[in-house]
């Protein structure tokens, strides 16, 4: 089963567009990433630019409305993520516990949907909808 580990750094919602981690934090992170790789569990990872460089698109009334960042009303924003393949939810949590995080960071662990996780009727719909594509 696959999990996404999302890093939620406090204050990142208002971080400057050019904010980057310190060399020391980056080095620790590299070490952790290497450990995930050596254990064969790492599928993907990325760090994200601060929300001040992003945009939010909302869809009230079926109409897409764009708001440029930063988003002062946001309490939590994502700073980056790992996707790992592990054997249980507990294992994902154990890996998250080993991450080199600082006092003001949180990691949220969420399982990724796989085809067999969907109810049968949804699976059928997903499988049938795309037959006959050119």
């Amino acid at each position: 089963m696959r999990f996404m580990m999302m890093v939620i750094p406090k204050g990142y919602e208002s971080a400057a567009p050019d904010a980057v981690p310190s060399a020391q934090a980056a080095a620790k992170m590299m070490q952790y990433n290497k450990a995930l790789q050596k254990a064969g569990v790492l599928l993907a990872l990325d760090g994200l630019f601060p929300p001040s460089t992003g945009a939010r698109i909302s869809y009230a009334g079926g109409k897409a409305k764009v708001t440029d960042g930063p988003f002062p009303e946001a309490k939590e924003v994502i700073g980056g993520y790992w996707i790992i393949q592990v054997r249980s939810r507990e294992e994902a949590i154990e890996w998250a516990k080993r991450a080199p995080m600082s006092d003001n960071e949180v990691i949220e662990v969420r399982q990724i949907h796989e085809m067999p996780d969907f109810p049968e009727d949804v699976q059928k719909r997903l499988k049938n909808s795309s037959t006959g594509t050119p």
């Binding site: 790789q37 050596k38 064969g40 393949q85 054997r87 249980s88 507990e90 949590i93 154990e94 499988k127």
Partner: protein
């Protein structure tokens, strides 16, 4: 909702390989190392539910294993002799052992893990012993889990592991890193064990669905580990590529009613693009390392050909024939020849395919393909395409008789219906 036993299990799956590898560096015997690690796990299972999970569970387990090692050293020495001089020497030995184990965990080096894998896949062991030992020592699977995956009684797996450890110790297999030609030979054995685990999950047609998926995932995880440990070995990257590319089709291999769907009929939009991407990257890596005409690299290249085609009709069969030709050079086998004949049939027409098939397999009673249902189903397919319907029907019927596999029988029966439909009603 968090169960402390499940957490301990998870900690074990993360830590056990490095723990056993580190202990084995000191004990030079993976059987002993595993027992010490298991003892440490039992201690953890007793204490952690009460005291909570320690901050650094890996170091905790190592310390517990160290205590057990020192204890057993004392016991074994006291049994032999009781001299005062010996007692003093024992103390020195205990201290040395303790220091060695402290040091071992401080710097579990990748070589330790690699040595552990090489030892578990040692050519002196029976193949089933290698598989069981690998899943147990490097996969962190319990005997019960391995038994469920292979649909055999737990006792059988327990015996396989016991026998394998005994063989290693009787053959005085040292916990050393292989070099040069020996390294190549040992890598080959490791890769075949990992691929066998993958295929057990990928092609098995009975057993629990999730357990089969677990075997594929475990093989992929082992493949990714090996790439980190042996980054310069082309075939290591190639095997990972092959497994990723094959696994990327998983969602498309079952129809909406659970029936098997063969590659040409698969809904390609269900293939996992991210996984195809990973597989392709690994294959490119293998090729850059100069191994493009090796066993796994060629198979991965064939898989990549299929994955590149957005529809079955776009498949570059000419290239696939060339890749099979190369595969016949490095690793000729009746199965490869059969697959080559299928490719020839697609690239050059069914008559050419039939010629290729006849060239390899005049099915004598003792040929490797005798009794192999796919030979007849392929022949039946080619004959059908050539409009030789009665012969095609006979071949497919023979294939149905020869396979025990229900899903295969379903597919073949479906094929039979197609022949009935295509054949002019006479």
């Amino acid at each position: 909702m968090r169960d402390v036993h499940k957490t301990i299990e998870a900690v074990w799956k993360i830590e056990s390989t490095r723990l056993i590898a580190a202990i084995a560096r000191v004990t030079r015997d993976i059987g002993v190392a595993e027992e010490l690690a298991q003892d440490a796990l039992i201690t953890a299972l007793e204490l952690w539910p009460e005291e909570g999970i320690p901050e650094n569970p890996g170091a905790w387990l190592m310390k517990a294993a160290k205590r057990r090692a020192i204890d057993s050293l004392r016991r074994s020495r006291l049994l032999v002799q009781k001299h005062e001089e010996i007692a003093r020497e024992l103390q020195v030995q205990q201290q040395r052992l303790g220091e060695a184990m402290d040091q071992a965990l401080d710097q579990v080096i990748d070589d330790d893990v690699l040595r552990l894998i090489f030892t578990a896949c040692h050519p002196v062991l029976a193949v089933e012993g290698r598989v069981a030992l690998t899943l147990r020592l490097i996969g962190g699977l319990t005997t019960a889990e391995i038994a469920r995956a292979f649909l055999v009684p737990e006792k059988t797996i327990g015996q396989r592991i016991f026998r394998a450890k005994k063989t290693l110790s009787e053959a005085h297999v040292t916990f050393e890193t292989a070099r040069g030609d020996e390294l190549r030979r040992r890598v080959k054995s490791v890769l075949s064990v990992v691929y066998l685990i993958f295929n057990e999950g990928y092609t098995a047609t009975s057993g629990e669905e999730w357990m089969r998926a677990a075997l594929c995932d475990e093989a992929l995880r082992l493949g990714r580990m090996l790439v980190q440990l042996l980054p310069g070995e082309s075939e290591v990257h190639a095997l990972l590529a092959l497994m990723e590319l094959n696994a990327s089709r998983t969602a498309a291999r079952r129809g909406s009613n659970g029936e098997a769907v063969l590659l040409p009929d698969q809904d390609r939009s269900l293939w996992d693009d991210a996984q195809i991407q990973r597989g392709t990257t690994s294959l490119e890596h293998a090729q850059r390392l100069g191994g493009e005409v090796n066993y796994y690299a060629l198979q991965a290249a064939i898989a990549a050909c299929h994955m590149r085609a957005r529809t079955a009709e776009e498949t570059d069969w000419e290239r696939i024939v060339l890749l099979y030709d190369a595969l016949m050079q490095v690793s000729p086998s009746p199965i490869v020849a059969l697959n080559r004949a299928v490719a020839v049939g697609m690239a050059q027409g069914p008559a050419a395919g039939l010629d290729a098939l006849d060239a390899i397999a005049t099915p004598t009673a003792d040929s490797a393909l005798a009794g192999y249902h796919l030979l007849h189903s392929v022949r039946g397919d080619l004959l059908m395409k050539m409009g030789r319907f009665p012969e095609a029907r006979a071949e497919i019927e023979r294939a149905i008789d020869m396979t025990q596999n229900l899903r295969e029988q379903e597919l073949l029966t479906e094929r039979l219906k197609q022949i009935e439909k295509a054949a002019p009603s006479t």
